[in-house]
Symmetry: C2
Amino acid sequence: MADARFPLEDYFGFDVRPYSALVRFEAGDMILSEGEANDALFFLEQGRVKVSVTQPNGKVLIVSFIDAPAFLGELEFLGARELTNGVTAVLPCACWRIAGTRCRERILNDTTFLRKLCVMQGRRFVQNAEKSARSQSYPLKARLAQFILQTAPDGVYREKHTEAAAYLGVTYRHYLYVLADFVDCGILEKTFQGYRIRDSEGLRSLSGMETLCRL
Amino acid sequence: MADARFPLEDYFGFDVRPYSALVRFEAGDMILSEGEANDALFFLEQGRVKVSVTQPNGKVLIVSFIDAPAFLGELEFLGARELTNGVTAVLPCACWRIAGTRCRERILNDTTFLRKLCVMQGRRFVQNAEKSARSQSYPLKARLAQFILQTAPDGVYREKHTEAAAYLGVTYRHYLYVLADFVDCGILEKTFQGYRIRDSEGLRSLSGMETLCRL
DNA sequence: TGATGGGTATGAGAAATCTCATATATCATG
DNA sequence: CATGATATATGAGATTTCTCATACCCATCA
């Protein structure tokens, strides 16, 4: 064990190594399937995941993206919720699975962990609030550019159009218009297995738009 | 002391009564002014507050609204942030101020409190994410109607138009168009001290729009 | 095999929203 | 009082986004 440092060390007041197992996921892999009862706590050490939920009408809705480092499944672990949302890897992920059965009590009484979690949740809330406040001001062109960069790290955009349009808060029709625009401009290229990014610089400049500052 | 129950009882593992003071605010009162160093923890027992922050360019930006019951200033109390945002009462508020100087250590090691806070923060995040995801699909007419109901509980809408437009993510121009529309329809009436709500039923039906369900 | 449903795709016109331009009122400040 | 900064207010035309209508492809299922 030539580990320089155990990555969970800072997040707990006791040694969770005996209860932890590292799991790796490739982009696209399902980490948690929706509606499962889940008694484990997850710590995303590396990567990015997508959280989604199925609505009453059967449509799948993308709820949010979460970047490492972050805890997953913490609400269920704390007993504040029964069923998990669906969680899918967007980037290759390194994820620690901490089994609840053997150290649940201990974790729930670990002030180091609880304080860390409070801080991370609070920051997540603030960041999300600010980000969604800002993003809502941009036209779809900019938001879609950012979305593509976020979800297609390997250079090929594969999201389901219906779900993507819903997440971005626009109609399917309009989403397709803008996507077709990107293809016309030579930014994307349609292939049999997705849209290949041909000009990621162009996408970045569209998604940036630092100059756009309303009012 | 004929208190049926001390309202903070459920949120702490020890008796915080000695460290707590109840403060009441009227709608419009400032609870925390922005940029202050703050070492107290607040618990909003009743009411609704507005959180705002001044941007580098000097504009004031409304960040979010928070309903009771909720903790305020928890990130500063946990040491995760230095300066507070501005917090203003929207409804009459009952707020407990818990002085940090005398029981900070104890609170930071109180697992009952920490667990409660984690759960509340997690829920706040999920609710906010879902709400902002949903709301972005509605036209301004609906969002403004809801915003007016939320910020004008006494029947008079007094928000600054520039800030409201920024919060709602639309241009000032368009915001005024829609507001003028509400006046034309007889839903609002312009008075010297704000816009008086004449048809709150109309506002509610505009803000509801349960039938609106894209895709 | 035919039917059904979901994802995909495209067109045309309508509605929502933005940009730019201009004007007045208010308020603090020298 | 004059001045500048900010909020308020309104108009006209451009752009974004929506609604509705219509196809096609491909899976599943009876």
